[in-house]
Symmetry: none
Subunit: 192 residues, 2 copies
DNA sequence: TCCATATGTGCAGTATAGTGCTCATTCTGC
DNA sequence: GCAGAATGAGCACTATACTGCACATATGGA
């Protein structure tokens, strides 16, 4: 890191966090000053964070999250929250590769049972290596186009367009696109 | 904020983030120096972060996350998500209307937490009236094309293409396509 | 034992996160 | 139009995140 770019919105997720904070504050009907009083973070800083012009520390984000009766992680995710009625929000691109492959977290539940809805695009020949998860976690897949190869614990599962797959997630696994065209699939992650 | 406690592990989640980073680094078989080179964050800072003795900024955490081929949010969550062996299943057309609308159950888990993955197609002007599910059941929606209007308990939720929605489904609810074109959406039902 | 590698830590310096003032602008409602 | 509330932003200042170096400790292999 020679030149340290700063001042403006550097990373995209910083803007996401800012937008999350602003929306939740407005849902509470609070002014920036009010959130400042409740969180202990200055009004000056809050406006910059909401506009994606700051690079807050974890402690600062945590103070704000607590004041909003939320938690740190959910501010980074684009999850809505309203209890009875849902809301709409844009997807969060969580992973991408040099080849153009990408994974977007579309929406998720807040608490148990945890469920996440994803959309994935894998370029021909591309691979995604995943880490094991909490015991009992499962995944559902539905392939819209191309074909998806899932390797897990020595087993190989091939899912073609129009087919569905399911895996347990207590061990290392990986997604591969061994086909000649792009693979598109929906992924649901379910935890206890 | 009179006395600002610092230097030691202040918040619990900071230690969580540190542990996550250390674990993933060791899974890669990297030394701290190696992660430092790849992420652009100094070795000095990395050790403190891993030990929960630092208060890094979002950009710093993001740099580390990218070097670990991970994402920012999952480092903050104590429980990530994926991995294991599964099976494939064919889609089941559960419902259809005279107008050509249809609902297909793509796949589902066997036991708790229950989760079902659906694909729906609603013709313009078509409606589906649903019965309440078991208490605590939730639904996630992602609209691929057109727009989806969900009415539930007097509330109206409109989800457009590219947006996501969420509702509690332990009450009467209905899907409507009020738009001029076909509506296509993915639906996830999650129960306890 | 000796050497090499990996990690933890003290210290000083630098870059920047964060604060508290200030004023400008916008949007209300009167 | 006017007054007040709310937000956006410039500025100087303070607190601290972050760096680089040095040194200590621990582990493992020849």
């Amino acid at each position: 890191m020679s030149g340290r770019e700063r001042g403006a919105a550097s990373a995209g997720f910083i803007a996401t966090v800012g937008r999350q904070i602003r929306q939740r504050r407005q849902e509470q009907g609070w002014t920036v000053q009010e959130l400042s009083d409740r969180s202990g973070v200055s009004r000056r800083m809050l406006t910059q964070i909401e506009l994606g012009q700051a690079n807050p520390s974890l402690v600062t984000v945590d103070r704000i999250a607590h004041a909003l009766d939320s938690d740190f992680a959910s501010l980074a995710l684009p999850s809505p929250i309203p209890a009875a009625a849902g809301s709409s929000r844009e997807a969060l691109r969580v992973w991408s590769s040099a080849g153009g492959s990408e994974a977007a977290l579309l929406t998720a539940t807040d608490h148990v049972p945890r469920a996440e809805l994803w959309h994935w695009r894998l370029a021909p020949g591309d691979t995604y290596q995943a880490e094991p998860d909490a015991s009992g976690t499962e995944e559902l897949h539905y392939v819209h186009a191309g074909e998806l190869t899932i390797t897990t614990g020595g087993a190989i599962l091939r899912v073609r367009a129009g087919e569905a797959g399911r895996i347990r997630s207590d061990q290392h696994y990986a997604y591969h696109n061994d086909g000649p065209s792009w693979t598109e699939f929906t992924r649901v992650v379910v935890g206890a």
